[in-house]
């Protein structure tokens, strides 16, 4: 069949569908999902809760059988050739652990190495290599339950890289990590992709994960792909908005700048939506600090749900028939959705 080596395709899924539950009360988690990923690509696979991200990853890694559709990962049908595929891919799930809490990571590696058929010499070499790459050598000898979440995730990453996988599937890898640990993990993924050519397929809720790790973003909702494009374009079109939250120590005048929309303003809080394409964050901060008595200030990305909502707005504006597709499970936004208000204004 299609040789993955020749066409350079790591993942190809066509018309995947998965239904859970008994006939009467079944839920369609994934419906008619078509997606493909080239070798060496870094793809973010995102969507709101219940969009079918995890279900599709589980189908692509051979954990679940789809109800319909076909898929090949590295040329293998995941649910039929699960074991052969498992030997060539790595999976990291923020919610689950490959490592045994009462053992040291190194002890778990020994077990995994035996499972993947690595000889003990090769195992030692690889563990040393990964320890260096992840800056985690000194973490490998403590019982895993004594590690911080960030440290544990680095060990988890080492565990799923042990057999030098060709594709890395990561489900919410940064969940619960502090900022530094998140940044470190993101850098590692990019580095790994650059040096080893590992294909990275990642799901996340965190807009920053997508911006910093992925080159391409696939957005799904209600089991279907609703957007597929380069992150650079998404950044230009949809991630240009930042939110500036200002804690006020006293009364403040309204900020009136081009590209800045006041989302909320009362005695203690001022929230601004800033279109960074037309005004720099620095200019906004300067103005705010100049005119207001500030007790606290922060700059954040808009939540993913809002970004996705805008994908809908954009696509339904371009193609009216998409709006009906969207109505099968549109993202529900609060009435006071700041970004939407900002964009429409």
């Amino acid at each position: 069949m299609s040789d993955d080596g020749e066409c350079g395709e790591a993942i190809r899924a066509t018309g995947l569908a998965k239904r859970f539950g008994a006939a009467g009360r079944s839920v369609e988690a994934v419906s008619d999902l078509t997606v493909s990923v080239a070798r060496g690509e870094r793809v973010a696979y995102i969507g709101p809760n219940g969009a079918g991200k995890s279900t599709s990853i589980k189908i692509l890694t051979g954990i679940l059988r789809p109800t319909a559709g076909s898929a090949r990962v590295l040329g293998l049908v995941p649910w039929r050739e699960r074991r052969r595929l498992a030997a060539r891919i790595g999976t990291l799930f923020g919610q689950r652990s490959q490592l045994w809490p009462d053992l040291t990571a190194r002890q778990s590696f020994t077990m995994l190495a035996a499972i993947y058929g690595l000889g003990s010499a090769k195992e030692r070499l690889r563990v040393a290599e990964l320890g260096e790459l992840l800056g985690a050598t000194e973490l490998f000898d403590a019982p895993v339950r004594q590690l911080s979440l960030g440290q544990r995730m680095r060990c988890e990453l080492a565990a799923c890289l042990l057999h030098d996988p060709e594709i890395l599937f990561l489900d919410e890898p940064t969940i619960g990590l502090d900022l530094l640990a998140k940044q470190r993990l993101r850098d590692l993924l990019v580095h790994l992709n650059g040096t080893c050519g590992t294909t990275v397929f990642l799901t996340s809720h965190d807009v920053a994960d997508i911006e910093h790790v992925a080159e391409r973003v696939v957005i799904i909702n209600a089991g279907r792909v609703i957007h597929d494009g380069a992150v650079a374009a998404l950044r230009r079109d949809l991630l240009a908005t930042k939110l500036v939250d200002v804690g006020l120590a006293g009364p403040a005048p309204t900020i009136d700048l081009p590209g800045v929309e006041v989302v909320e303003h009362n005695d203690t809080v001022l929230r601004l939506a800033v279109d960074t394409a037309s005004v720099s964050i620095r200019a906004v901060l300067d103005t705010v600090l100049d005119r207001c008595e500030v007790s606290d200030i922060s700059v954040v990305d808009p939540p993913l749900e809002q970004v996705i909502a805008r994908v809908y707005t954009a696509s339904s504006a371009g193609a009216p028939e998409d709006a009906s597709t969207g109505s099968s499970g549109p993202v529900e936004l609060p009435a006071t959705d700041p970004v939407r208000v900002g964009r429409q204004g």
């Binding site: 859970f20 539950g21 809760n49 219940g50 969009a51 079918g52 991200k53 995890s54 279900t55 589980k58 890694t61 051979g62 954990i63 679940l64 059988r65 699960r82 074991r83 052969r84 498992a86 030997a87 891919i89 999976t91 799930f93 923020g94 919610q95 689950r96 652990s97 490959q98 045994w100 809490p101 009462d102 053992l103 002890q107 778990s108 020994t110 077990m111 995994l112 190495a113 035996a114 499972i115 993947y116 058929g117 019982p143 489900d171 919410e172 969940i175 809720h205």
Partner: protein
């Protein structure tokens, strides 16, 4: 095979990582078993024998049961946890590894509390089983078959979760086989006894191996091997087919 051994070694290390808890659990189980020995000893002060089972034979049965069930529930601890593993979506991790999922699951958890039973059973056999090389060999073979049969039965009934979505029926089955195996199958008669040699093969878990140690018999031995093989095949098939219906539970909750 090397993988399986490595997993078992890791599971063993994991279970013994907390020394104090480990020895405490072992002692509790040994004390528990001692109470049962006490029960049988008191029982046989009033009753010389029950349908051919005297105190020595019953203690032999108890030695086989504690050793075998200790191995099944201790070393192959996940054999009775299939329902909870399936419901929680805990098969996910196993399914991302290039291994046979059932084999990996079975060896990847050791419950030390049940290892106390195994230790006790072996000591009991050495103490009251009049060990000779032949009797010891039959004891070892009988215990291994008993372990395999018990584990297979528990996996088989656990696989009901793939259809029913809950672990209730398998919970009942687990109770049933463990209680029924603890007594000589001959105390039952008629249909109940028939049941213990077929559907709920409690008779083969301890009574038959114990009888074999005392009086090696080809028919008994063949029946034990056959029924173990049948239940192992059924368990394997049920699990493999069940996996097709695996829905990964509520694992990876934040989808």
């Amino acid at each position: 095979m090397r993988g399986t051994v490595a997993v078992l070694r890791a599971a063993m290390r994991d279970a013994t990582a907390r020394r104090a808890a480990f020895w405490w659990q072992i002692s509790v189980m040994v004390a528990n078993d001692l109470i049962w020995v006490l029960f049988w000893m008191i029982f046989f002060t009033r009753v010389p024998s029950v349908r051919g089972w005297d105190s020595e034979k019953v203690l032999l049965l108890f030695a086989v049961l504690t050793t075998g069930s200790g191995l099944a529930l201790g070393i192959l601890a996940n054999c009775r946890r299939i329902p909870v593993l399936v419901r929680e979506g805990a098969l996910d991790e196993v399914l991302t590894l290039p291994v046979s999922p059932l084999r990996h699951l079975l060896v990847s958890r050791v419950d030390t509390v049940n290892l106390g039973d195994t230790v006790f059973g072996v000591v009991l056999f050495l103490a009251v089983g009049r060990p000779t090389p032949l009797r010891a060999a039959v004891f070892v073979a009988g215990v291994l078959l008993s372990t395999a049969l018990l584990a297979s039965f528990l996996v088989l009934i656990g696989c009901a979760v793939f259809v029913t979505g809950d672990g209730e029926s398998s919970g009942l089955g687990t109770h049933a086989i463990l209680v029924l195996s603890s007594y000589p199958a001959d105390i039952f008669q008629g249909a109940t006894k028939m049941l213990l040699y077929t559907v709920v093969p409690a008779g083969f878990v301890a009574s038959v191996p114990a009888r074999l140690i005392d009086r090696p018999d080809l028919t008994d031995a063949a029946a034990l091997v056959l029924i173990t093989g049948i239940f192992a095949a059924l368990a394997w098939t049920a699990f493999t087919l069940g996996l097709h219906r695996y829905a990964s539970g509520s694992g990876w909750r934040r989808s």
